[in-house]
């Protein structure tokens, strides 16, 4: 069971308090109407799915109810950093 440092609560908390919300930093296109079906489909469905460092969005559902960014290694499950939405992650 993972231990995730919540950047809002300022404490490590147990995975049970969180829910996963997919890959982070998927920016919603500014003007969806200008995209063709393929480009819009890429935004809707395609994710990087790496083996290794992965930028993720988590939701502190049973805590402060804030969304946070997590940099997690999908192979080792090591979490190297967490930060607030809107803050930029340090370079991986």
């Amino acid at each position: 069971m993972l231990e995730i440092h919540c950047p809002y609560c300022g404490e490590p908390r147990s995975e049970e308090e969180f829910s996963y919300a997919g890959e982070a930093h998927i920016r919603r296109p500014q003007d969806p109407a200008k995209l063709d079906d393929r480009a819009w489909g890429d935004y809707l469905h395609f994710r990087s799915n790496p083996r290794g460092a992965h930028r993720e969005l988590w939701f502190h559902a049973a805590g402060c109810r804030r969304y946070l960014n997590v940099l997690r290694d999908t192979a080792s499950y090591h979490i190297s950093q967490t930060h607030r939405v809107g803050e930029s992650p340090e370079d991986v």
């Binding site: 069971m1 993972l2 231990e3 147990s14 829910s19 919300a21 919603r28 969806p32 109407a33 995209l35 079906d37 819009w40 489909g41 809707l44 969005l57 939701f59 559902a61 109810r65 804030r66 969304y67 080792s76 499950y77 979490i79 939405v85 809107g86």
Partner: protein
């Protein structure tokens, strides 16, 4: 048959596990041991009454009572005796207690004896009885090979196998005990309370780290409890007592004896099972019986020790063949001699201690068979000086005896140890103590992701490079001498504390001096050669619990199972409840030899939780019975109960399904409730509907982006039906939103989706539009809601509400007003899910019961009837109102559902899902459309989920199968109002097919035909709703 017999099959006479003890008292030594001779205990084993002492385990007491055979083996039904003295024991698996108190599959070596304990042999001859003639020749992969054949035959076998399978018997009733869970955080968690673990705990605690020390035995000390060793000038146990006293006095240390760390998970999360009262009796005299500790540690120090590895030779499963360390432990700790004439079979110096202890206890050592040509260690010299006969470069190749060891064949080994150098000869003995080396207990380390590495020098698998903050100490690290364990433990404890932020990594205590005998190099054999090849020799057992032999593993190699993981699954090596603690390494060595490769490249299988079996009770903890899944009740729950409501579970909510009167059937109750709503007045508890309060200067802007419809220009006091779409254009949720003020809305969500909708709103606000001034509060539980539905709703409400103008003009459909109902502050919505004139009265939850009663009293003269969810469903289906999640399945767009009117294109920002509605696939002409179905036979109610196919055109022709599926029924009821069956369905191109007849083939073979109609069956103009 005694108390332990129960209804279990009686073991056959020829192999009764409890032959009467020949000399009941001779096996217990007159003095010594850590047992309390002033406290004798009576217990029963397989119905026979026996005695032991406080401090005994069940295993030591059985040995003391002369019990040789404790169980019969799983596959072959062979006699099996006690082999080990701890968690590694594969054979002595017993059931404790009886009836509901029965605890199956306990290791007798870890069961503390208590007065009145009732034990029965776990494994029985059931499988053998089933397999009958095959039992003697069940090779590796038996099941895969034997049960090939036609599928119908397998079903026969399955029934037989299920009856035969399993080791113990399950309890006959619900578990009477309670269990708890505890969460801990600590700086250093030390697993294992032997010398290394205690040293590690001391080193960490002395620099003020928060320490937890867990050990599976009833007292701390580990191997020191069974060995007459000295630390400093005193017996080792005195050092243990002093160390534990110091730790007990430490405010920053937690000591957990009788606690097994069985799982090591991500981010240093370790689960520990503590047995609090198992040693006091079958049922806990004081709750709880066991506790599951969930420990998150900054650093974990594994001091899990090592398990002695037995030698593999022919008939090595005969009772009387034991681990050398176990023979010594029973002798020293429990004052039990497991036999009279000992033959020691070893390839290392360490095991000589067993022979020396045995001789010191006044017993006969027949001889030592040492695999080494010229062992030169100090202990060997001591044995020689004591006159013990040592056969060098010899191996025990076969045990002889029927019910128990009566002798052994020993033979000289060739130089490489693979063959015999001369003919074997027989030695008479009744106990063979064997030691082929030690296997570090790397299970937890392996669970934590560290790949075990083979150490050629020590001939053992050691913990691999840790992938979590782990340190290893003592025997698990390959440190086999006491002095090394103490030093390694102290260093590891200091290192772990330092890594957790305490101390300077130098241990603050020096281990007292320990006299160590100098040891010569060891020579493990893994398997002793026999005059016959493995396939012809008497069985050479590798895994006792699952009856896996050396020949099985060699066969697996011949059949192409080269990977150790595959060979494990094919032969079942290590699959038992003991996880192959004794046999795995021997099995790997035999496989490596058969494949002509080294042990290092063969590798070892990955260990997974649990290290030892865990009770379901402990895993469930308090989350059992009514706390298994908490129920949510509305403020009017007690009223529904008193009214005799039948319940429907909606999410966690308990909702009244219908209210049967006297001996009414559900159908009769629903007919009555529907009539009341359509003709007079009925009332529904709608409190469970999700409610979210949305406030902020940008609330309207935000909702415009979230809902497909437009909310920017919705007037204050007005309501609007809204559809939320996912970004892919499919319907996510629906409900009515009301504008309470310029900057405040109340959103209704479906009952089951309230939490998901709230998270969805937060997701978009926090990640995509943090600049918007809007915030959300769940107020579902704050309000009690009573929906008054029926032509007389206004008349009823008027009697208890005098400060809201309820007239049609002043309070039109789809609006909200505030005032008082029955004297309580209320918010009244004129919205309708029934198609009737309806007022939804919302009051504070704590007023809900009173207001409900007042409304029932006010409705009394009008014949008010409470109605449940079934009637609600019928009423809404008559109107064609969808239920998201029942009529939709996550692939439907608003257009598919005929809800295009609720979508507003061309809003300034657009909305979530907007772009996707224009995707080519969402504009296909042949999509499924939401339609109504009117069955040809008005009385035939279609089952929900029924598939729709085209009706057969030629009446006489037998329909062809399969026929293409064209859709399915999503909702179906008998409508009392219309006096006929109605259904809602998704149908390909449905809207173009109104009037067409389709067909639903049912599971029972019937075919029901129906006409496609618009999905609205009643009051299509909405006159009643707007009344």
């Amino acid at each position: 048959m005694g108390a332990g017999g129960g209804s279990l099959p009686r073991p056959s006479r020829s192999a009764h596990p409890t032959a009467p003890p020949a000399h009941p008292t001779t096996r217990r030594l007159p003095a010594g041991g850590r047992i309390d001779r002033s406290q004798p205990l009576r217990f029963t084993f397989n119905g026979r009454s026996m005695s032991g002492f406080v401090g005994d385990t069940l295993a030591s007491a059985l040995l003391a009572n002369g019990v040789d055979t404790v169980a019969q083996s799983f596959k072959h039904g062979r006699r099996r005796g006690i082999v080990g003295s701890g968690t590694e024991e594969p054979n002595a698996i017993v059931d404790l207690g009886d009836g509901a108190h029965r605890i199956p599959n306990q290791r007798a070596t870890q069961v503390e004896l208590h007065a009145g304990l009732v034990a029965t042999s776990g494994a029985r001859r059931r499988l053998k009885r089933f397999a009958g003639a095959f039992a003697g020749v069940m090779p590796a992969g038996f099941y895969y090979k034997f049960f090939m054949g036609p599928p119908w035959l397998w079903r026969r076998w399955e029934a037989l196998l299920r009856r035969a399978a399993g080791l113990g018997a399950v309890p006959t009733g619900a578990d009477p005990d309670t269990y708890d869970k505890l969460n801990h955080h600590c700086d250093v968690l030390v697993v294992g309370g032997g010398p290394a673990g205690i040293a590690a705990a001391l080193a960490a605690a002395r620099v003020d780290a928060r320490v937890a020390l867990v050990d599976e035995q009833n007292e701390f000390g580990g191997s020191l409890l069974g060995a007459p060793q000295a630390i400093g000038d005193a017996p080792a146990t005195q050092w243990v007592d002093a160390a534990i006293a110091e730790l007990s006095a430490c405010p920053n240390a937690v000591l957990l004896p009788r606690a097994t760390a069985f799982g090591y998970y991500d981010h240093n999360f370790v689960t520990v099972l503590e047995r609090r009262t198992d040693h006091l009796g079958a049922t806990s005299p004081c709750a709880p019986r066991q506790r599951l500790h969930r420990i998150r540690a900054k650093q974990v120090a594994l001091a899990t020790g090592a398990v002695e590895r037995p030698a593999t030779f022919a008939n090595n499963d005969l009772p009387g063949v034991m681990l050398a360390s176990a023979v010594a432990a029973y002798l020293n700790r429990y004052a039990v001699a497991a036999g009279t004439r000992l033959l020691l079979f070893t390839g290392n110096d360490n095991a000589y201690r067993t022979a020396l202890d045995w001789r010191r206890a006044g017993r006969c050592v027949v001889a030592v068979a040492d695999t080494r040509a010229s062992p030169a260690g100090a202990l060997v010299a001591q044995a020689e000086a004591a006159g013990i006969e040592i056969h060098k470069a010899h191996a025990v190749i076969e045990a002889i005896g029927r019910k128990r060891v009566a002798g052994a064949l020993i033979a000289p080994l060739s130089e490489d140890g693979q063959r015999l150098a001369a003919k074997p000869r027989r030695l008479d003995c009744d106990l063979i103590a064997c030691s082929d080396g030690w296997s570090p207990a790397i299970h937890l380390s392996s669970q934590a992701g560290a790949r075990p590495r083979w150490n050629e020098e020590g001939m053992m698998f050691l913990p691999g490079a840790p992938r979590q903050p782990t340190v290893c100490a003592g025997a698990v690290n390959g440190a086999m001498s006491l002095a090394a364990c103490l030093a390694d433990g102290a260093a590891a404890g200091a290192r772990a504390a330092h890594a957790a932020g305490f101390g300077d990594a130098r241990p603050r205590f020096a281990a007292p001096p320990v006299e160590e005998a100098e040891e010569d190099a060891a020579r493990p054999l893994f398997i002793a050669p026999h005059v016959q090849p493995s396939s012809r020799a008497p069985k050479q057992f590798v895994d006792f619990q699952l009856d896996v032999t050396a020949a099985d593993i060699e066969l697996a190699a011949r059949e192409g199972y080269r990977s150790v993981e595959h060979a494990k699954r094919y032969t079942a090596l290590g699959f038992g409840t003991d996880q192959g603690k004794l046999g795995n390494v021997n099995g790997v060595a035999i496989l490596a030899r058969a494949l002509g490769q080294g042990i290092a490249e063969t590798g070892v299988t990955v260990f997974r939780p649990a290290y030892t079996p865990v009770t379901f009770g402990a895993i469930a903890g308090r989350d059992a019975g009514e706390l298994f899944d908490a129920e949510r009740h509305t403020p009017m729950h007690a009223w529904h109960m008193a009214r005799g409501a039948a319940w429907e579970n909606v999410g966690r909510w308990k909702r009244p399904w219908h209210y049967p009167q006297a001996d009414e059937t559900m159908h009769e109750a629903v007919v009555r409730e529907c009539r009341s709503a359509r003709q007079d007045i009925a009332m529904l508890d709608a409190s469970t509907l999700g409610k979210i309060d949305v406030q902020g200067a940008d609330a309207a802007t935000f909702l415009d982006r979230i809902y497909a419809g437009s909310f920017q220009r919705l007037g204050v006091g007005r309501c609007r039906y809204g559809l939320m779409l996912r970004e892919d254009g499919t319907i996510f949720d629906d409900g009515v939103a009301a504008r309470l003020a310029d900057t405040r809305f109340l959103l209704h969500t479906t009952t089951g989706n309230a939490e998901a909708v709230l998270a969805w709103l937060e997701l978009w606000r926090q990640t995509e539009w943090p600049d918007l001034d809007v915030y959300f509060t769940s107020v579902t539980d704050h309000w009690a809601t009573a929906a008054l539905a029926g032509p007389k709703a206004r008349d009823v409400l008027r009697r208890v509400c005098d400060d809201i103008d309820l007239s049609r003009e002043a309070f039109p459909f789809m609006s909200v007003r505030s005032g008082h109902v029955a004297g309580r502050p209320a918010r009244v919505f004129r919205i309708s899910f029934s198609g009737e004139l309806c007022f939804e009265v919302n009051v504070a939850a704590h007023d809900g019961m009173d207001v409900w009663n007042a409304l029932m009293a006010a409705g009394e003269p009008f014949g008010i009837t409470p109605y449940g969810t079934e009637t609600m469903h019928v009423l809404r289906a008559e109107k064609g109102f969808i239920i998201v999640g029942q009529d939709t399945d996550g692939s439907m767009t608003p257009d598919d559902m005929g809800l295009g009117w609720a979508v507003r294109h061309g809003k300034p920002f657009g909305f979530i899902g907007d772009r996707s509605l224009a995707l080519a696939d969402h504009r296909r002409a042949d999509r499924l459309h939401f339609v109504g179905l009117a069955t040809t036979d008005a009385a035939a109610v279609l089952p929900e989920g029924a598939q729709i196919v085209a009706a057969s055109t030629r009446r006489a022709a037998k329909p062809t199968t399969p026929r293409a599926m064209q859709g399915h029924v999503t909702s179906s009821y008998f409508s009392p109002t219309l006096g006929r069956s109605i259904a809602l369905a998704m149908l390909t191109r449905g809207r173009e097919r109104l009037g067409e007849t389709i067909c639903c083939p049912l599971a029972d073979g019937r075919e029901v035909s129906a006409q496609v109609v618009r999905p609205i069956f009643f009051d299509a103009e909405g006159r009643r709703t707007h009344a």
